[in-house]
Symmetry: C2
Subunit: 299 residues, 2 copies
């Protein structure tokens, strides 16, 4: 069992609103509801270890738990005890072991190191910085290249950079030169600054953006190697545009996007002149969002 | 330009919750956001008339307006002046002419008859009772038959019966004998009563169900001819199950369904023992729903 093909969505009302020819590539229907399954499955299927260890309060944990179940492996997911109970329950329902920590007492990295020491046979998986992650996400780039659609640009969220690095890798492997553009929360614009400075720049802390999938401190080093040469640009997106994009996708295209998933459409709202009348593929990276937050965004 | 292929969605968390192997066939990404485009396009493309006239406060009006634009025709959509402004705006944005009526002063049927008299060259299109509607909706049955998936049953909303009649027609034309089951609001259970009595039974008035796409007084006569012989059963669904199904699709599968679109999943909630462990295709007929109502359903 591999990744599900992405779901391409076009609606004239969405394109009208964005003044561009927009195709959404929604990963909200990917196994476990986000593109993270592509990487998680690639990791679970290809490392020799029978047990995998990771830290994730978000989509990677769920994706890894389900991927491990599919390939007959086990995993431990370190999560803050303050995580939403629905997310903890999801990891468990896929068969993952949850290790809850009090982040005031111990950092996630410290706890992963502790567990790795106790389980030397386990593979420690990064949610975004691993060649296997890039390779897994490259499958989406290949699907876009082989979709029979013609795009002037592919826009995707950028946090740790695993998705953009995968898209660039997959598109180029399929012979496509379509520019890939990252959509990054302005509140955590380390990728944009990294490109400007020509080196990995780190945020001082996890940025407090509504796009929780992009609350990363910096790009991964494997991703940076691909992105530095391969990305066309990064659009820095204000929080208001993220909120507006979630609602626009709901109103105009019946797409449920989590805030991180709406970043690409938010980039169109942020820089409309750049994309006017262009044929744009907006990657919606996932749809997993708390009900209360979502209700407030669409109301 | 024809109908978009339906979007097949599987999620283990949804199947777990419903204790069945569930595949959603979502028409929320069909052109204009509902399966109605399949019929509307078939009507617009195949009648010789250059102008089409219909009454619809819901999805058929939008679908017909867009279909007419695609084939270079024009249409008039009679709508109550009390319709949601967003629906009126949608019809207009697709190029449809909107004829607003005060339903206290004149019924939709009376106004359509008036306009038909004034425009003798126009084709008067029924949203659900026309052989061209059945033929258009049959395309979805063919897609399900040819999807490579194996189902024990296909469940779909039933209001006027155009969707179920189309599914039966399309499946059988593709050589598939999969049973088709209608999911009907208990508040307007004329289809279930019609099957029991062996004749078309009418509701006394438009049923006051949250599933506004199923607020029909009776099955169409063309649909009845197909459904009487071809449908396996009708499940009568209480309003609470419809609300729960909208939320379940949101929570477990990232699917935005309008209440009518959630009827098939609501049928699984209503009669779980009937479908336990079965491989079931639930047709989500559309995703167009008011933000405020939707927010209240998921909160």
């Amino acid at each position: 069992m591999h990744a599900k093909p992405t779901c391409f969505i076009e609606q004239p009302l969405l394109s009208d609103a964005l003044q561009a020819e927009v195709t959404v590539a929604s990963e909200a229907f990917q196994w476990t509801g986000s593109f993270k399954f592509r990487a998680a499955y690639n990791v679970a299927a290809h490392v020799p270890n029978r047990h995998i260890l990771t830290a994730s309060s978000g989509n990677f944990g769920q994706a890894l738990a389900y991927a491990c179940r599919l390939v007959g492996k086990t995993c431990t997911v370190v999560m803050p005890s303050s995580s939403a109970s629905v997310k903890i329950a999801a990891v468990r329902s896929y068969g993952g072991q949850v290790d809850l920590i009090d982040t005031n007492a111990v950092s996630r990295a410290e706890r992963v190191a502790e567990l790795a020491h106790a389980m030397p046979e386990a593979y420690v998986a990064s949610a975004y910085d691993d060649p296997l992650v890039i390779e897994g996400n490259a499958s989406l780039g290949k699907e876009i290249a082989q979709s029979g659609r013609h795009f002037d640009a592919v826009i995707a969220p950028i946090g740790g950079g695993g998705l953009c690095a995968g898209l660039i890798t997959g598109l180029r492997a399929s012979g496509s030169a379509i520019p890939v553009i990252g959509a990054e929360p302005l509140l955590g614009n380390d990728a944009a600054r990294s490109l400007r400075e020509g080196r990995i720049v780190r945020n001082e802390r996890e940025p407090d953006t509504i796009a929780d999938g992009a609350r990363t401190v910096s790009l991964g080093v494997h991703n940076w190697a691909v992105i530095e040469r391969g990305i066309a640009a990064v659009v820095e997106v204000p929080e208001d545009a993220i909120r507006a994009a979630v609602r626009l996708l709901f109103d105009r295209a019946n797409v449920k996007a989590e805030p991180t998933g709406a970043l690409a459409v938010a980039a169109l709202l942020t820089a409309p002149e750049r994309f006017r009348s262009a044929r744009v593929c907006c990657v919606v990276s996932g749809g997993n969002v708390e009900n209360r937050l979502y209700a407030s965004l669409i109301a």
